[in-house]
Amino acid sequence: MYSQALNTKDAAAADTSPEAASFQARIDAEERIEPNDWMPDAYRRTLIRQISQHAHSEIVGMLPEGNWITRAPSLRRKAALLAKVQDEGGHGLYLYSAAETLGVAREELVDQLLTGRAKYSSIFNYPTLSWADIGTIGWLVDGAAIMNQIPLCRCSFGPYARAMIRVCREESFHQRQGYEIVLTLARGTPAQKAMAQDALNRWWWPCLMMFGPPDTDSQHSDTSMRWKIKRFTNDALRQKFIDATVPQGHFLGLTFPDPDLRFDEASGHWQCGTIDWSEFRRVLAGDGPCNRERLAARQKAHDDGAWVREAALAHAAKQQRKAA
């Protein structure tokens, strides 16, 4: 998901200390772990990576949608989109704060993003080519985020769980708003309907990839599950998303770009065709359509803002000297 690059092997050294045993007992009892509580180093590291990758995704995610703020087709849509992108920035802010409770500074996390040491969700490396992409991102990308983040509201780490509760409320508002944009287009002129169909064609598969690699490839999940950082596997969340979304798409009168998509009576689930995991790995490795632009835009904002941040610090220091 927003932390999909975590699905790599991170062998948590088997810790047999009494602290580790009582830590696991608290987790098993569904207690929340707070920043000052004892925690295994690997738990701390995993959370810092997951929460910061989630934060980076919110921030980088402002770029593809921000691309349409100046071209939103009505004043109502312009205000709603601006407010949505602002919400995503707010999510980034809470998440950086949650990560900071684990003893890492925001500056260090931003540096990891800019130097390519930290990842963000692969989905934000795709371009927004038409207004329908804005509706489709709300409907599908925020929709997928919600599927992933609702279980995170019960994450064992307190600050992350609490941040997710607030974030999820806003994401579901974004999802409904996005769906309503697509609905308006689907009921609109032939050109608008074609725009909506084209957006679905481009976003559907990358959205399925947001949940991360199939369970058969993802060894990391076991530890995260034991620590209750993660509660469902990638495939289980992906299936929930497909089951929720396919009927919505059909209601819109749109066609999913998957000739193998079919409803399986026996299991009661929608089954999709084969996901092209080579595309996923390529985008994650840096060769998506917009990886370079996204990082360059963040780097430029960071560089252009350096003199502003220096000025704020210099002024604060002068004020402090005066007060002393």
């Binding site: 009505s74 004043l75 920035g89 802010l93 207004w131 609109g188 050109a191 803002g305 003199w307 502003v308």
Partner: protein, 228 residues
């Protein structure tokens, strides 16, 4: 569109807010800090909201006014449409424009127009925050480093010829007093009043407005009659 004196007055206020809000919204994703992303988006949202309330008060469809007028039909002051420049330019403009808007809204609050006093009550609360935000930053920038001081002074020097139009219809000395109080704390100065640019209220704009509108209006213009 029949532009009665009332509609012309409302469009002046509304176009100022929309065009300035549009410029501020261009910062989204590119601001110097994450906190500032949120603040600039917030101010842009306030201004777009004010523009909508004012367009609605004309009794004409708000989106027709925003999306289907040509540049010469826009009534905003030129300073609102200038490109953002650096952060110092954006902040200095925000202070100059918001301080003038506050005075204009003060008058509007007591007018006998059917809609203006209610809109003014909302707008004045918002503008008070915009002024505070801009003043706080300009003081930091003016007082901060040599570079931030230089950039802020350059911004004021470049903006000053656009302030004549800004204070038509309000008390320029009241406006100047409020600006000078901030500049003093920021260790900045303003140039003497000289030749002032103008024409925005009459629809004579800078080269920048056409580009801004071409971008803003693209969808409604290329899909006539569609609803969004």
């Amino acid at each position: 569109m029949q532009e009665t004196p009332r509609i012309r007055m409302l469009l002046g206020l509304a176009d100022d807010a929309l065009i300035h809000g549009h410029r501020l919204s261009e910062w989204t994703g590119h601001a110097p800090t994450l906190e500032e992303e949120l603040a600039l988006a917030n101010i842009a949202l306030d201004l777009i909201g004010q523009a909508r309330a004012l367009y609605q008060a004309t009794g004409l469809p708000e989106d027709d006014l925003a999306y289907l007028r040509d540049p010469h039909q826009f009534r905003n002051v030129l300073i609102a449409e200038l490109p953002n420049g650096d952060f110092a330019f954006t902040i200095a403009r925000l202070l100059l424009v918001a301080t003038a808007a506050d005075l204009a809204w003060r008058d509007a609050a007591t007018s006998d127009d059917s809609d203006l006093p209610a809109i003014a009550a909302m707008a004045r609360n918002e503008i008070a925050y915009h002024i505070r935000h801009a003043a706080d930053w300009l003081i930091r920038l003016g007082d901060g480093t040599e570079e931030s001081h230089r950039r802020s002074q350059n911004a004021l020097d470049a903006l000053w010829p656009y302030t004549g139009e800004l204070t038509v219809g309000i008390d320029r000395s009241a406006w100047l007093g409020a600006i000078e109080a901030v500049l003093e704390r920021a260790t900045l100065t303003h140039p003497a009043d000289g030749w002032m640019q103008g024409g925005g209220r009459d629809g004579r704009h800078t080269e920048h407005l056409g580009h801004l509108l071409a971008e803003m209006q693209i969808l409604p213009r290329s899909h006539p009659g569609a609803t969004w």
